[in-house]
């Protein structure tokens, strides 16, 4: 094989940057949406049996069907019944709803790790349900929920490559476009892989910092 040509990456810099930007925007926005949905659904399903049954189908449908099908359906299918959104919105909504389904289960599981006595004790101190949730219960779930949340984020970031079917030129699509022109599979995919890894690794560093803040004495782990 001929020598490696990493110079093509410098030439393609602006194009890579454009793709990186789209990937960052789509995945960060949809992750925020997923956290909001996931927390709300997770708490609701942990608190009441009725909500658990009512919201069950949402979680099961989004976990039980391929994300690509969900994106196709939201963007190309929904306009048939009058719901039309632009490609970025559709991509973010699709990724957000999909991620939300997984995250709601993380939140629900993490809530189960907190003893019921905590809520009673908070009530005895005169805290409302909402105050108790924000100040007492949720901080205790952070330690449990954080590691799987980082996994969720890395899945979501990588899944964001699928929004290229909605004509969004994100990082994976850019790598294909460069490869089409240059035929340099080794250099192009190595570089793009490194970019994805860099993004996920920086989120991991942030999560490690947060994890230290929510350390609880007497619990497993150091």
């Amino acid at each position: 094989m001929a020598g490696f040509r990493f110079d093509i990456l410098f030439n393609a810099g602006p194009l890579l940057l454009e793709g990186l930007g789209a990937t960052v925007i789509v995945s960060l926005t949809s992750f925020c949406l997923a956290i909001l949905i996931g927390t709300a659904v997770g708490i609701a399903r942990a608190e009441s049996t009725r909500a658990r049954r009512l919201l069950g189908p949402y979680v099961e449908v989004f976990r039980g069907t391929p994300l690509l099908i969900q994106l196709f359906f939201i963007y190309y299918g929904l306009p048939s019944i009058g719901v039309t959104m632009n490609n970025y919105v559709a991509g973010i909504v699709g990724l957000g709803l999909n991620g939300g389904a997984y995250i709601s289960e993380i939140v629900r599981g993490a809530l189960y790790s907190v003893e019921k006595g905590q809520q009673d004790a908070a009530a005895a101190l005169g805290l409302s349900w909402y105050q108790a949730m924000v100040h007492v219960i949720l901080p205790q779930t952070m330690r449990v929920a954080l590691p799987p949340l980082v996994s969720s984020f890395s899945s979501l970031l990588k899944d964001s490559s699928l929004v290229s079917v909605l004509a969004i030129t994100e990082l994976t699509r850019v790598s294909q476009l460069i490869y089409t022109r240059t035929f340099r599979a080794f250099e192009v995919y190595l570089a793009v892989g490194a970019l994805y890894f860099g993004m996920i690794y920086s989120v991991l560093l942030v999560s490690q910092y947060i994890e230290r803040q929510f350390k609880i004495a007497g619990r497993y782990g150091r």
Partner: protein, 258 residues
């Protein structure tokens, strides 16, 4: 790969369902005029017809120049949107694009569901092998060999017609992947459009074209079903650029061989 096939089928199904309900008056050309813009959908992975210049980041190729020339004849600007091949027909149906100019041949979609423009290029399919290949010189030599094609392409349909003679047909999302597999000897030949083959050999001289062209695909522009006004205008503009020499100029710039 299987999954992608399903997806294409589903998209086709959805398109058929939607088209059955559509009986609105045709304002396709007025819309383009009011917007002052002809929105062209394409998949920029098929040089020299369309690709994104990796240095400038600009789309370029035969289809780009032609789209611009056609739009100019109609007094509007052309705007190009790159999308995955699988999303093109869905996006057209949904109204994201006015037209697809992406080297699509008649056999790659169904005329019941879309409007075709006049044929703007005849694209022969050819056999591409490694430069050092000596055993494959004609179509007959492909007997018992493994050939690669791009999914959903006219070349794939051609390969399917001859599939009994092959050992195996390998289907790739995009041609570059097929060429890489050819280079690393995981397949014996690639069936692909002639212009694309020539362009790739320029970039990567480790391949050659052998044998006579297999068949000619009729390349057309694709418009939404019922966009008859716009289709008429596009065909008229195509006739004009052919007459005034613009078409020939664009052709020579991108598709002239030798």
């Amino acid at each position: 790969m299987k999954l992608r096939n399903w997806m294409i089928l589903m998209a086709a199904g959805a398109i058929t369902m939607v088209s059955a309900t559509e009986t609105l008056a045709d304002t396709s050309f007025q819309k383009v005029q009011e917007r002052g813009e002809l929105v062209v959908g394409l998949c920029a992975q098929y040089p020299p017809f369309e690709s994104k210049n990796e240095k400038s980041g600009q789309l370029e190729g035969f289809d780009i120049d032609m789209g611009q020339a056609l739009a100019a004849k109609m007094g509007v600007k052309a705007k190009f949107v790159d999308s995955e091949w699988q999303g093109l027909l869905g996006g057209l149906k949904k109204g994201d694009y006015d037209i697809l100019i992406t080297c699509m041949s008649k056999s790659e979609t169904r005329e019941e569901n879309v409007n075709f423009s006049d044929v703007y290029y005849q694209l022969p399919d050819v056999i591409v092998v490694r430069k050092d290949e000596t055993a494959i010189n004609t179509q007959a030599d492909l007997k018992g060999k493994t050939v690669g094609v791009q999914l959903g392409s006219a070349s794939e349909q051609l390969a399917d017609q001859m599939k009994d003679t092959f050992k195996e047909i390998k289907r790739y999302n995009y041609n570059p992947e097929a060429f890489t597999d050819l280079k690393f000897k995981r397949i014996d030949a690639v069936l692909v459009g002639y212009a694309y083959a020539v362009n790739q050999i320029k970039t990567e001289p480790s391949y050659k074209v052998v044998g006579a062209p297999l068949s000619e695909a009729e390349v057309v522009m694709i418009l939404p079903k019922g966009a008859d006004q716009l289709t008429t205008r596009i065909n008229a503009a195509l006739g004009e650029i052919k007459k005034d020499g613009t078409y020939q100029k664009i052709h020579d710039r991108w598709l002239k061989v030798e």
